[in-house]
């Protein structure tokens, strides 16, 4: 409930006065910095050694809170590391975090606040697709570079604008396209899909349906679930009995209930089950009621359990963020991470660093150069900066593409059984943001 400021006659005056005061304050601040902080020589001498201000839009509350907590930890760890290694172009990162309550309306307000109040250089970190779709247009209007870590297909689909990038995590269309051949080959061809009834779920619905049809499979039923649902038993009768594979992807506070109720409904007499790990991000696989998931399969973007094929990069990243070999916090084994998503924050920060350094970005006047430098990138190789693995980057679509994993639940842990190639997730579309004006 935000009462709109009434447009009254005195408003223009008021704003002028306020901005005048703000400028005076800034001048006074600068003056005091000059006189009182002689140690800060570099800051005074060259404007370019002032901190780079990054606006971090984070879901600290609302249905995305579990993800937000881990996005925050990952981001803090990456920023600390980058600053220890000399910052970006020799300038330290100053992180400004704002909670958007996992709410599209507040998301747009947060972007606004970053631009007008905090005056950040760019904004990053938004996850939930409805928030991205709600906030991205405002970022475009404000000409604010907006680096999302959302998985949604909305960036690559061309429905957003030139200021929005997703360079740290593969989009849903690519993920599900790369899953379909394995599912059809190993689990079955008649699939019932259970998905959240908003943009993110619709991406799954549209592109998995197409991908499984391309493998000679078919969709037995589609079960969209409203995002605020708290009880799921009533949906299960709609699963046709000739279903060979249940494909589930759920997010939000009800995920544990969802999986438990599915177990109660089916018991041991179940079809094959393939889930996106989103259904269990931040949830302990050893939780009571989840025993029935034994032998089911999950997509993972980044394996939660450090298996025999763990890379040195993953080991480094895990240690820096403070995650143990079971994907839980090192300080609390019950605090499970959102391991298949949060690496996106880490990698996005390194892409931002690379883009700022490549473009010679000095301040907001150089935003166009920053956008063009990001668009010029073609890919990232597996490294401490990109611990999830190699990626291709499509500058026209503003989207990256990486490897995906399929894991089986064995002994209440996930073990990787298949890794896709980047080519498995390729698709055709004609998005070209570079044609839009800056």
């Amino acid at each position: 409930m935000n009462p709109k400021t009434p447009t009254i006659g005195g408003k223009k005056n008021l704003i002028t006065r306020r901005s005048a005061i703000k400028k005076m304050g800034a001048a006074a601040g600068a003056a005091s910095a000059l006189t009182l902080a002689p140690g800060f020589v570099r800051y005074v001498q060259a404007q370019s050694s002032a901190p780079i201000k990054l606006g971090f839009q984070v879901h600290s509350t609302g249905i995305g809170a579990a993800y937000g907590r881990w996005y925050d930890r990952t981001t803090q760890a990456a920023v600390k590391l980058i600053n220890e290694q000399g910052g970006i172009s020799g300038r330290p990162i100053e992180l400004v975090s704002e909670d958007d309550g996992t709410d599209p309306k507040r998301g747009a307000e947060v972007v606004e606040k970053f631009a007008s109040q905090h005056q950040v250089d760019l904004v990053f970190g938004t996850l939930f697709s409805h928030v991205v779709i709600g906030a991205a247009p405002r970022a475009g209007e404000l000409k604010m570079p907006y680096f999302v870590v959302s998985e949604g297909y909305h960036v690559a689909s061309g429905s957003l604008n030139r200021y929005v990038f997703q360079p740290g995590i593969t989009d849903v269309r690519s993920q599900v396209s790369s899953m379909a051949p394995w599912i059809a080959g190993n689990l079955g061809k008649k699939v019932t899909m259970i998905f959240p009834d908003y943009a993110f779920g619709h991406d799954h619905r549209d592109y998995f349906s197409a991908a499984i049809a391309a493998q000679g499979g078919s969709i037995a039923a589609l079960l969209p679930i409203p995002p605020t649902e708290s009880s799921y038993t009533k949906y299960f009768p709609q699963i046709p009995s000739d279903t060979e594979v249940i494909y589930h992807v759920m997010v939000g506070p009800g995920v544990l209930t969802f999986v438990k109720e599915m177990g109660e409904h089916y018991g041991s007499n179940r079809p094959q089950i393939f889930g996106f790990v989103d259904s269990l991000e931040a949830v302990d696989l050893a939780s009571p009621g989840l025993e029935f998931l034994e032998g089911t399969y999950f997509w993972e973007a980044n394996p939660r359990y450090a298996g025999p094929n763990q890379t040195a990069f993953d080991k480094f990243y895990r240690e820096k963020v403070g995650v143990d070999a079971n994907g839980a916090s090192v300080s609390d084994p019950k605090d499970i991470s959102t391991y298949s998503h949060m690496f996106g924050c880490w990698e996005t920060l390194y892409v931002i660093k690379q883009a700022i350094e490549a473009s010679g970005y000095q301040g907001p006047a150089d935003k166009a150069r920053l956008i063009e430098a990001t668009e010029a990138m073609t890919g990232f190789s597996a490294s401490n900066e990109h611990p999830q693995g190699d990626k291709l980057f499509d500058g026209k679509r503003h989207q990256c593409y990486g490897h995906q994993f399929i894991s089986k639940v064995e002994g209440q842990k996930l073990s990787v059984v298949h890794q896709t190639s980047i080519e498995d997730g390729q698709y055709e579309n004609d998005t070209d943001y570079t044609k839009q004006s800056l």
Binding site: T61, G62, Y235, P253, G254
Partner: protein, 293 residues
């Protein structure tokens, strides 16, 4: 699935919803009936019950049964105390003015919700059911705890009915409801009755929250749905009729179960809201409400 088992599942789901809803809505109805207060914070007492259940059961992690028993006794007591405080600090000072208390309870809603967000955090946390088993029907399996929840809610409703109609406190309460000033003239301590009724209403909501939390998870926003449904039930049943409230809870709960299983949960919500509109147009005092005096 065939029609028979499909209907059975729908009825089971509807019955669970109806019993829990009846307990929640009864609390709202009592508070309105006696105090004439529309308690917008009612759902937050439900949420507090669930969150406290999480806290109390986590004190005894090795003994889920006794942890749950502790929760079912402890959570309503704590919530009752919070309600007594809210009554003394807020409602009494507003002299129980109907309009002022609506605004005040909206404030209370946000205070409770944000306090839980600050202290407990934004996560949804599971509570283990005291007794968990799975009932295997020939066509599908069903959570055994849901039957326990039905039984416990039925006992609570019986106890509430007995309390209101057969005890001295119930008599005093009904007298206050019927005519506050005359009751006061006859020596009924109206202020005390108000505090007790507000606490009782909150405790009923908290008990419903404790019963539901092993089926869902404790989350700071979980009070919104039961609040909306309780209002629907209380309006349809008649704002000061306990019998009407319980009957309406069953109509709404079971039709919700059937419509959401056979059609869609969204349609069930649409129909319930439409029913409220129709009742308000054609029988403004609810299906079982008496004439306003």
């Amino acid at each position: 699935m065939d029609l028979g088992p499909h209907l059975l599942l729908a009825l089971l789901e509807g019955t669970v919803a109806a019993f829990v809803l009846a307990v929640t809505a009864l609390g709202l109805s009592l508070v309105f009936g006696v105090m004439r207060i529309v308690n917008v914070a009612h759902g937050e007492f439900f949420m507090l019950g669930a969150v406290l259940a999480w806290f109390l059961t986590s004190l005894l992690p090795e003994m889920p049964f006794w942890g749950f028993m502790l929760a079912i006794v402890g959570a309503p007591l704590v919530v009752g105390m919070i309600a007594v405080m809210a009554d003394a600090l807020v409602l009494r000072r507003l002299n129980y003015e109907p309009e002022a208390t609506i605004v005040a309870t909206i404030g209370l809603l946000y205070i409770l919700q944000q306090a839980v967000l600050t202290i407990y955090g934004p996560d949804a946390r599971p509570v283990v059911a005291p007794i968990s088993f799975r009932v295997q029907f020939p066509w599908f399996g069903y959570s055994g705890y849901k039957f326990i929840a039905i039984g416990a809610a039925a006992l609570l409703l019986l106890a509430a009915w007995y309390g209101v109609t057969r005890t001295k406190f119930g008599l005093i309460m009904r007298a206050t409801q019927f005519d506050r000033e005359t009751a006061q003239a006859f020596g009924v301590p109206v202020k005390l009755v108000y505090a007790a009724v507000f606490a009782l209403g909150a405790m009923l909501a908290a008990l419903a929250g404790v019963l539901i939390v092993p089926l869902q998870q404790a989350h700071y926003l979980m009070g919104l749905d039961p609040l909306l449904l309780s209002f629907i039930v209380v309006i349809i049943g008649g704002l000061d009729s306990l019998k009407g409230t319980i009957l309406a809870a069953f109509i709404i709960g079971i039709s919700d179960g059937i419509i959401s299983v056979f059609f869609s949960p969204t349609l069930a919500k649409i129909i319930a809201t439409l029913a409220v509109a129709l009742v308000l147009v054609f029988r403004p005092n609810g299906l079982f409400g008496g004439r306003s005096r």
